[in-house]
């Protein structure tokens, strides 16, 4: 049996610049921080990045100048502030950028996951979102059409099939069978739409654990190319049932992200000067801080 256990560094080495990646986080939850830091350390650039609702992970990548094309449905760092780097990039037009909605991105992934080249949808009509898509390079991904059965008008969305999807999960076995606790947003569709699927897991469990509740398996192992076992891999964002978000660090991040020069310092301090995610966790406060953030088993946070 092939060994799927890989480090974030190994996986990122296999990703060429110019890749279309999809990230599985949402605002301040289950962000692929360990992977994104490694993408920044290895300076994988000219990425296409697609995501339903962006958050810290995408803000980091965009701020680091590695994203050439962003396809997203919105996003922020919730009450901690906006996604400053993403917003700045949109304002300065420093990247190609297409705005969608949560459901339309989800349907584009669903089409990809089902092997359909497109899906009809009943949103976007009469909005500036559709207008701008149709007026720009995004026009090749949307088309108005009429249902041949009912005559109803639809927007057809081209399937999104990322080259690589990353999803952060709580539980996986060595074969890559994954369970996700809490809300899953578009993770299942985003994962299954991709050509390559990489999961980062908080915990590796024996397959026997998966077999005890196989109804909970959201991603089956045969679709998974690599499993990165990185506990606390999403910090400072939260992972339901494992740990809370680190509010102090998120505030610190937002303060830095407001200005390009300060953001560079953040990258220097928390990304470039760390060899790996373990070193970064030390900078967050190490084990004592992690114990403060550890979720209680009833509430999950």
């Amino acid at each position: 049996m092939a060994n799927k256990l890989k480090s974030a560094a190994e996986v990122v080495q296999s990703i060429p610049s110019g890749t279309h990646i999809a990230l599985g986080g949402f605002a301040i939850a289950r962000n692929l921080i360990a992977v994104v830091h490694e993408l920044i350390r290895q300076q994988k650039g000219d990425l296409t990045l697609s995501q339903g609702v962006v958050g810290l992970e995408t803000d980091l990548l965009v701020g680091a100048g590695l994203v050439g094309h962003l396809i997203m449905g919105g996003g922020s760092l919730d009450r901690f502030g906006p996604a400053h780097c993403v917003n700045r990039a949109r304002e300065t037009k420093s990247l190609r950028y297409e705005d969608y909605t949560s459901l339309s991105i989800c349907f584009r992934y669903l089409a990809g996951a089902l092997g359909l080249s497109y899906m009809p949808i009943k949103v976007l009509f009469a909005s500036e979102i559709l207008e701008r898509l149709e007026a720009g390079p995004g026009a090749s991904d949307v088309k108005r059409s009429t249902c041949p059965f009912t005559g109803e008008e639809y927007v057809l969305l081209r399937a999104l099939t990322p080259d690589v999807s990353f999803v952060h999960v709580q539980i996986a076995d060595r074969d890559g069978n994954c369970q996700i606790n809490g809300a899953r947003w578009a993770n299942e569709e985003q994962a299954k739409a991709a050509r390559r699927l990489i999961v980062v897991t908080e915990q590796i469990v024996p397959t026997e654990f998966i077999q005890r509740s196989p109804e909970r398996t959201i991603i089956p192992g045969h679709r998974v190319e690599a499993v990165i076992h990185q506990p606390y891999g999403a910090l400072p964002t939260c992972v339901h049932g494992c740990y809370d978000y680190d509010a102090d660090h998120l505030r610190l991040y937002v303060e830095h992200a407001k200005e390009p020069e300060r953001f560079k310092k953040y990258l220097e301090n928390f990304v470039f000067s760390c060899r790996d995610h373990w070193e970064y966790l030390e900078k967050l406060g190490g084990l004592p801080r992690i114990e403060e953030l550890r979720a209680d088993p009833i509430s999950g946070y």
Binding site: I28, L103, A126
Partner: protein, 265 residues
């Protein structure tokens, strides 16, 4: 009971805050057995209040894939674990927004707005300053989806002239664009039905689809309302006064639903 504060101090005649009037007005718009997609903040507070009073079977859905949460701590955002607490179903976009919202079984979508125009068009994407400089804020997330598909939409927001302009700086989520019917716009959902602000409850005129005053909160005058609105309002012959929350509603809001005043400050 606390002394009134915030929101322009318009309710000095009582100790009831504008946010409390808004929450109660929002709750009254929700009927028992309905399905509502809510955002966090006042929409959530209003739906919990409705559930604890006249609408115990209200189903509350969050776009992330959460149904009927009963948070005991205040979430910082939709994906925060605090918003999952007590949920009866945890799934994802495809379930909540595909198999409920797009399916056509969501009665009410409860939204906020950066800007809202007279036809109920919502901007949640960017703001433009007077010089025309653009500052991006967020985007649609589920907003356009909800506005397009829910049977009716309730917007809850602060009443400020710059937030209620003649034309939104970016049309993220459509209401009755250009005063046209939803059918003409190819939209399935019924569109905006209520706007609940800290000054008034507003609706939309059936013929013109333009925003219309339904009731003014106690102590708010019509001229004050007009002065704080960036577009001409449809003024019907009779304008009611928004009912104040009942004593029981106030007790629930203050003692049980938001005791630390996170949303009702």
């Amino acid at each position: 009971m606390p002394v009134t504060e915030g929101t322009k101090g318009r309710h000095a005649q009582s100790d009831i805050r504008a946010t409390e009037i808004m929450a109660a007005a929002g709750a009254r718009e929700l009927h028992d057995g309905e399905v509502v997609v809510v955002g966090l903040g006042l929409p959530e507070v209003a739906s919990v209040l409705a559930k604890r009073t006249h609408a115990p079977s209200l189903a509350t859905l969050l776009e992330t894939g959460v149904m009927n949460p009963r948070p005991k701590d205040t979430p910082v955002g939709l994906p925060d674990s605090r918003s999952f607490y007590g949920a009866t179903c945890l799934s994802g976009f495809l379930d909540v927004m595909g198999m409920n919202l797009h399916r056509g079984v969501v009665d009410v979508g409860f939204l906020g707005a950066l800007e809202l125009d007279r036809y109920g068009n919502i901007n949640t994407t960017l703001v433009k300053d007077d010089s025309g400089k653009v500052r991006y804020v967020n985007g649609s997330a589920g907003g356009n989806d909800v506005a397009s598909l829910a049977k009716r939409v309730i917007v809850i927001m602060r009443h400020e002239k710059r937030k209620l302009p003649l034309a939104v700086a970016y049309l993220t989520s459509p209401g009755f664009v250009g005063g046209r019917s939803r059918q003409e716009l190819h939209l399935r959902g019924g569109g905006p039905s209520r706007v609940i602000t800290d000054m008034a409850v507003l609706g939309f005129d059936a013929a013109t689809h333009a925003m219309s005053v339904l009731s003014l909160h106690p102590g708010v005058g019509l001229e004050e309302l007009k002065a704080n609105t960036g577009f001409p309002l449809h003024i019907p012959n009779e304008i009611a006064t928004t009912p104040l929350p009942t004593a029981e509603e106030l007790r629930l809001l203050r003692e049980e639903i938001d005791p630390t005043g996170v949303h009702l400050k």
